[in-house]
Amino acid sequence: MLEIKGLKVDLEEEEKSILKGVDLTVGAGEVHAIMGPNGSGKSTLSYVLSGKDGYEVTEGSATLDGADLLDMEPEERAAAGLFLAFQYPVEIPGVGNMTFLRTAVNAQRKARGQDELSAGDFLKEVRARAKDLKIDAEMLKRPVNVGFSGGEKKRNEILQMAMLEPKMCILDETDSGLDVDAMKLVSEGVNALRSEGRSFLVITHYQRLLDHIKPDVVHIMSNGRIIKTGGPDLALEVENNGYADLLAEAE
């Protein structure tokens, strides 16, 4: 599904290298977790994959089902099936959440050669998905993320993911800011979307999320590299001992 090879990334503005050769392969239907200390480059990886400006890829490649992601515009990557749940979802004053969702859903349908959803069908779909995530109708009417609490923003990301039905979902610290119940809700939302054709890359600092969303593979990222890859136990090890041993081992 997702194949990243020797990816090296610098900042465009200043001479600073952030990713120093990342290799990562996520197979169809798999769930991978990435953990790692603050500033190790996890969000940068997710931004570079989704096409944010400001980064320069100096080496390596990233493909989604064989298609070169790095060569596409952000909207083309989305249409190809990539989705990023942002660590910090963006507030957009003046754009209604509903308008936003509908524009996004229909833009992707169009890009894939499907008919646009009718207003009625769309509404039905959103209501059902929102209800599962306990997002109330009032919130849908408000401008995108404006005045949403931290947890509400994260649930809104998952709502978008559910509506867009991507095949490669990257979740960047979707658990941060969520209370215990919300974390369960969001995890259930994610688990409901798990399927053979859909993969997940879950960036998190905490084992707790991984109790709910059981990963097949866990990667540890440090200083712009994946320094260790293992099974679910690796996350437990981090939870119990922190990164010190792992970092020392990698040196």
Partner: protein
């Protein structure tokens, strides 16, 4: 005082080229007086304080620069089922218009009213314009009073349910159109005025509005779509106790637009809102909103909300003043002018002014210029929305605050749709 030579020459050249139309004695007198004050003031020049940012040369010149005719958007405002008056090349076309009648309504055109020896418009025609010449001179308005050939005279004696729509159509030949409207809203009455169309290569309108105690005047206009058209409009309003005045303008095309709005709030507890949304595209585009609101009574509430989206070298201007006279306590004055600059070539020039002679008032003003948010743009694109569609969505969002000033939801939606359509058709 003699005019400076450059001004005298420009004024002479224009005044020599215009004629004062015939009419009944009262109208002829009003026109002559207006012509005299125009000659005395002289026509505007770039060196005048309120023309610093907008060069009036092409508005003043004897000949109007040519402008190609674009198809009129006849569908706009039609959902509101308005009483429609069609003006072709600045002349009322009775055959193309609805029957001029309605409940609580006296309505006619200037050409006809001005032929009558006695008409209610006598008390207002040129009168509010004259009052609005102080403290800032507006000679293009007095030139309009002197030379207007037509316009609409509206007198609302109670609630008028059906909006009145002025459609300005244009034949290829029309160089100048000069329209002068008079609206009298009597105590407790209410009327909505809509305007659309280019009318001519160069259009001048003056609208004098008197709103008596408890009356309401709503005004929504879409300014002509001809790409090269020029337009200067003046609105002069005098509003009474507990009255409401609301005016909104949408401008999408044209090379030069100057909208002056002068409002005197004479009665207590009055409300005056003026708002505008404009999208300017291209180096020739220049759009100027100049507003002067005077609070001269207690507890008045005024709002000025102007938003401009400028790209490819377009220029936007806002000059807005709130004057709070002595004794106008508890005034609540708000003014905001903002521009969204879609590239580095475009320019927004703002001159907000507050002048306050009462001590118990709340007035605020703000002016900003900004680019589109890269963060928001990326967020939208990451969801599959194309760069252009995302830019348009953010542009509409930016303009939303101004459109919210339109009281009637149906009219607001109509303009929103047109705006969205326009943005869709114009590549960034």
């Amino acid at each position: 005082m003699a005019l400076p030579q450059f001004k005298q020459d420009a004024t002479d050249a224009r005044l020599d080229a215009v004629t004062v139309p015939d009419g009944a004695a009262w109208l002829t007198q009003a026109r002559k007086d207006a012509m005299t004050r125009t000659a005395t003031m002289g026509l505007p020049h770039r060196r005048d304080e309120y023309w610093k940012y907008t060069d009036p040369a092409t508005l003043v010149a004897a000949d109007a620069p040519a402008a190609e005719v674009l198809d009129d958007d006849d569908a706009i405002f039609s959902d509101a089922n308005p009483l429609t008056l069609v003006f072709v090349d600045g002349v009322f076309d009775a055959a193309a218009s609805d029957d001029l009648k309605g409940e609580n309504l006296e309505i006619g055109c200037l050409a006809e009213a001005g032929a009558q020896d006695i008409h209610w418009a006598k008390d207002l025609y040129g009168v509010l314009e004259l009052a609005g010449q102080n403290p800032v001179q507006r000679p293009l308005a007095s030139l309009n009073t002197a030379t207007a050939t037509d316009g609409v005279m509206i007198r609302a004696t109670g609630p008028v349910d059906r909006p009145i729509c002025l459609r300005y159509r244009r034949k290829e030949s029309a160089a100048d159109a000069v329209l002068h409207h008079v609206v009298r809203v009597e105590a407790g009455a209410k009327v909505t005025l809509l305007e659309t169309g280019s009318a001519a290569a160069r259009l001048s309108t003056v609208t004098e509005v008197s709103v008596a105690d408890g009356g309401e005047f709503h005004h929504v206009r879409q300014q002509g779509r001809d790409h090269a058209r020029r337009m200067n409009t003046h609105t002069f309003a005098r509003i009474g106790e507990g009255s409401v005045f609301k005016s909104f303008t949408l401008s999408l095309n044209g090379v030069l637009t100057r909208n002056d709005c002068v409002i005197d709030m004479l009665g207590d507890d009055a409300v005056a809102h003026v708002a505008g949304a404009c999208v300017g595209d291209g180096e020739g585009f220049h759009h100027d909103d100049t507003v002067f609101i005077t609070h001269d009574a207690l507890r008045g509430e005024s709002r000025q909300v102007f938003k401009k989206v400028l790209r490819n070298g377009a220029v936007g201007v806002f000059q807005g003043k709130i004057l709070v006279k002595e004794g106008a306590q508890k005034t609540d004055g708000y003014q905001i002018s903002q521009s969204l600059l879609l590239d580095d070539d475009s320019q927004f020039l703002a001159k907000p002014e507050l002048e306050i002679y009462a001590d118990d008032v709340a007035c605020s003003h703000g002016s900003t210029s900004g680019a589109i948010s890269e963060e928001a743009l990326f967020y939208l694109r990451s969801r599959g929305v194309s760069e252009k569609a995302a830019t348009n969505l953010l542009t509409l969002a930016f303009l939303a605050e101004a459109l919210e000033e339109i009281a009637d939801e149906g009219l607001a939606d109509d303009l929103r749709d047109r705006l969205a359509g326009w943005l869709d058709r114009h590549a960034g």
